[in-house]
Each structure stands twice: as C-alpha cells, then as structure tokens.
C-alpha cells in the first residue's frame, strides 16, 4: 500500500509523535517540561529524544542554570517537514477509507 509508505518510521512510537507535536507547536521546550506534559519517565523520554536526535529531526541545546543542567529541544526544519508529511499521510488514510 502506497499510503503506508508515507508513514514515517521515526514516528511509529506514540511518545515520539507526541514529543514532535510539542516541539512543532513551540520554539523550544525543556526536558523537565516535556516529562511533565507527556507523563513520561526519564529513561523512556531520553531514549526517544535520542532517536529523534539521531534522525536529525530535533536539535539539542544543553546549558546550565546555575549548577543544574537545562536541556532545550527544538524541532529542526527536516523534523517539521517530516511531521507535516506524517500527519498528511494519516489524513489521506482517513480520506481513502471514506471513499
């Protein structure tokens, strides 16, 4: 099926898609805020963020506030395009099932 090919493998996981939705809607978001918003555990969130970083869909900016590390994530241009394409594929699937 053609439409299934349009689905992005990187977004197969639900949490990854959720991370991407937040980063697309905002200029940047920090780790703790993401954790709280998505109700995710540290390890789970970190591994999915790593995966998205590896795809170069997100960019990471590590800074320190005092002594505490503060990691900001933002969506890259490639990530935004991929996210948009993925949503379009989902919408197309609905349209196809209707017709």
């Amino acid at each position: 099926m053609k439409i299934l090919e349009q689905f992005d493998k990187a977004f197969e996981n639900r949490l990854r898609l959720q991370i991407m939705s937040v980063l697309v809607a905002n200029t940047h978001y920090d780790f703790n805020a993401l954790k709280e918003l998505l109700n995710a555990t540290d390890g789970n969130l970190a591994s999915h963020l790593k995966a998205l970083e590896k795809e170069e869909y997100i960019t990471v900016n590590k800074t320190f506030i005092g002594r505490k590390p503060n990691t900001q994530y933002s969506a890259s241009a490639a990530g935004r395009t991929a996210f948009k394409k993925h949503l379009e594929a989902l919408e197309n699937l609905i349209k196809q099932q209707k017709s």
Partner: protein, 206 residues
C-alpha cells in the same frame, strides 16, 4: 489502523499542541472576582473624592489634595493585590484540578509577555503621579492593561485578546473625556472583568 484510531490520534495531537503552547487553566471566576473588587474599590474611591454629595452634573471636586490622593492610591493598591492573589490562587487550583502544574514553560511565557507592558505602564503611571499629571492616570491604566492582555493572549485563551481590545478602546475614550476617569476605570476594571469572567466560566466550566 482503524478510522476511529486515526481520528483519536489526530485529535490527541491537536490537543497536545494546543496544551503545550497555551496556558488554559486561567479561571473565569478570577475575572469575576477581580471585577467585584474593582467595583468595591471604585465605590470607596468615589466616596473619598465626592464625599456624600452625589452631584454629578456640576463638577467642583478635583483630585489634587494629597490626603485624597493617598487614600485613592491605597484603595487601588489593595484592589490590585486582592485581585492578583485571588487570580493566582484560583489558577493554581484550576491547574491542579486538571492534573497540571501551574508553573510550566507556557505560564512562564504568559507571565513574561504580560509583565512587560504592565511594568512599563506601572512605572509610567508612577512618574505621572510624581509629576502631578493626574488626569491621564486612569486612561493610562486601561491602555497599558489592554496592551498587556493582548500581548499575553498569544499564550492563553483567545477571549483575553478581546478583553484587551475593549480595555484599550475604553482607555482612549477615558483620555478623550478627562475628569470621568473613575467611570471608565469602573467600566474597564469592574464591569468588563465581570462580563469576561462569566463568559469564560460558562464556556469552559460546563
């Protein structure tokens, strides 16, 4: 994948994008309460300025005695403090009800974008007070408050933007009719808040 699954997936994405970018735990009740405090404050202020003579058609009372000014200033400060405290308290309660924290990146952004016009306005009004330009204090309050609301509205419910526009329009009228500051002030901070707060309360709390 089933059609319903995709629908729920898409709508959950949409709500997540909205929730992550907008702070929606503002309580309508805090608007109503702020309005009520403002009405009480305006009533007290009216009594301080005009005494007990409700003679509106002939104005022979001007706000230039320092004792009257000090009283008005204290009333305004108390109203502001009560409104802020109630607002913060109700917002935290509302956020907890939704299982969110009231202090997150979005509420921080909301607070920053609100406070830039508000602090500018506050300092400006303070300077007006020092220099004795009392006649444009009421319009300045309304104008800067309206600007603050519009600037903050990017990060919260869109109704806030319309409240901001109304405040600005009232502020401009107040500048056009000096001497009736307290009336516009009552309308802007009292009546408008109560209308806005009740609209929001019925729209989102049902």
């Amino acid at each position: 994948m089933q059609e319903e699954d995709i629908y729920s997936e898409l709508s959950s994405i949409r709500s997540l994008m909205e929730r992550s970018a907008k702070f929606i735990s503002l309580s309508g009740m805090s608007g109503v309460m702020a309005g009520i405090y403002a009405l009480i404050g305006a009533f007290l202020g009216f009594k301080v300025v005009y005494g007990n003579s409700y003679d509106l058609d002939y104005r022979n009372n001007y706000v230039n005695e320092s004792e009257v000014l000090a009283k008005l200033f204290i009333i305004a400060a108390i109203v502001l403090l009560c409104a802020l405290l109630t607002g913060v308290w109700l917002t935290i309660r509302e956020a907890h009800k939704k299982g969110e924290s009231a202090w997150n990146p979005v509420s921080r952004r909301l607070l920053i974008s609100l406070s830039i016009p508000l602090i500018t306005g506050g300092l400006f009004i303070f300077i007006l007070l020092i220099r004795g330009n009392y006649s444009i204090i009421a319009p300045a309050c309304l104008l800067f408050y309206g600007l603050a609301l519009i600037s903050g509205s990017h990060y919260t419910l869109s109704g806030v933007k319309w409240l901001g526009f109304c405040e600005i329009i009232l502020g401009l009228f107040a500048a056009l009719f000096p001497g009736y500051g307290i009336i516009f002030w009552t309308l802007g901070f009292g009546v408008l808040h109560i209308i806005y707060g009740s609209l929001m309360h019925f729209k989102y709390n049902q």
